[in-house]
Subunit: 316 residues, 2 copies
Amino acid sequence: MERIDQAARWLLERDNFLILTHRRPDGDATGCAIALCLGLRSLGKTARIWANPQFTPRYAPRLAGLTTDAPAEDDVIVAVDLASESLLPMGGESFAGKTQLCLDHHPSNTGYAVETLVQPECGGCGELIWDLLEAMGVDITPAMAEALYIAVSTDTGCFRFSNTTSRTFRTAAKAVEHGAAIAPINRVLFEVKTRGRLELEARVMANMEFYAGGKVAIGCLPQAWVEELQVTEDDLDSISGFPRTIDGVQVGVMIRDSEPGKAKLSLRTAQGYNASAYCARLGGGGHAAAAGAAVPGTLEDGKNAILQVLRDAHVI
Amino acid sequence: MERIDQAARWLLERDNFLILTHRRPDGDATGCAIALCLGLRSLGKTARIWANPQFTPRYAPRLAGLTTDAPAEDDVIVAVDLASESLLPMGGESFAGKTQLCLDHHPSNTGYAVETLVQPECGGCGELIWDLLEAMGVDITPAMAEALYIAVSTDTGCFRFSNTTSRTFRTAAKAVEHGAAIAPINRVLFEVKTRGRLELEARVMANMEFYAGGKVAIGCLPQAWVEELQVTEDDLDSISGFPRTIDGVQVGVMIRDSEPGKAKLSLRTAQGYNASAYCARLGGGGHAAAAGAAVPGTLEDGKNAILQVLRDAHVI
């Protein structure tokens, strides 16, 4: 499928939808699912979201009444923001081969569904869903607008990331015009951190090591601190990027020992540095600006391993 | 003046402009001045920005070639984002009574200029300037678009604050469409903090005191730390809001001893709490959500004073 209007017609011609999200669903996947479900229902159709066990508690009130863990045999399965069947949600592996329509914005989409509409130019998949709801003639309510505001704002780091486009901003503008109350959403999603998270960041910062005159920063996050401060994985969202938020840091490294006997490294790099290449030397991979690897041993072993790679690459 | 087109006509009929910004100019004032100056020049007019001594180094490259510290006698003085003559820039006090046009978005604008256009519905004054440039027929360049993106994004805390409107998002969308490269701007303005600032935050957090089950947080920022870590006032931007960014905190208090013998308190509160009323008890004032006060003595004296006020108000 090439165009929004084709997907709109496809949906209008069918009924009894089951909406799938991906493993570890983020704000974009969750917001898209909510808005699409509400939009289809507003047209008199039956639509439910598959109860992904990893939906975060934060979105529970918005999901109330929309989810099911008992899909019907003849459900029309629509996946949102789900690039590959390897990302099917936990417990939803049996949906493999059954997706009839996939609505996505990942260029890496594997084309696993019968019909696929991918718009990689979208900052958030919510931009596509907004235009789809409009194309279906849905009267967009504040609840739909807020769900899609959550989708596009979370996927672009509150409009900060490089995937933010004019369409992202225009979707946000329309969300506000359709009654989305964005200030409380912004506070929860982008301003507030838990006390545990902030105490953890304080400890990581106090122990941050700098090299090459501050161009390289290496932070360690011992699992013992995570447990002591009772910090959840939800609280730790995007902690990997923390060292790179320090002024002057071109190569930011965060190391965790969340799995025993293993040091997991996350790299974030500026232009001119290749995180993927450094991680490949340790058996990992990723993108030029963000990559990861795991080495056997302790946090200290992980630090020594990446220091050697950076020395070999003449970064330090 | 009531409308953008009136201001546009007024400017088109004149020449030789001197643009004024306010004391401690922020991204909105600076961005508006740059875009207006460039826009007027693109129409063949002479325009210069008065060289506010407090322009921050961050914006120096964008101001290069636009400023003057030697205004001419017959300059037409246009103020942007300048609500009152009490906010005239340092060294620019002699401009009092001389502003011919004021373009602003503060509802508190005192009407000190001969002509005034105030649009309080703007998140950033940059929204007004964008529409004004369009109304004057300016062909908006990437440099103008970036200046106005800086204006609206900084004044809304990167679209997080409650003053963000659909017009704010639409201005940002147009800025991108006119060639503004927003990703590097966002990184500098909203993602990166200096090492000193982060080390300071880590110390403040490690010493943060919580009351009323975490509803109240009080942080102290000793000047000795500021000096030891060589942190500038620029680095400390919006540090006052830090305690209120902790999950669950309804009343956030930051106390500084930047002036000897005095404890300066900044309060940030959630709905249902009145920062202004608490500060009034200590001789200060402000808004319901953000207020300040100063008490004689040490940081400890400041803390005891606000604790007493919060006890009296049954907050703790």
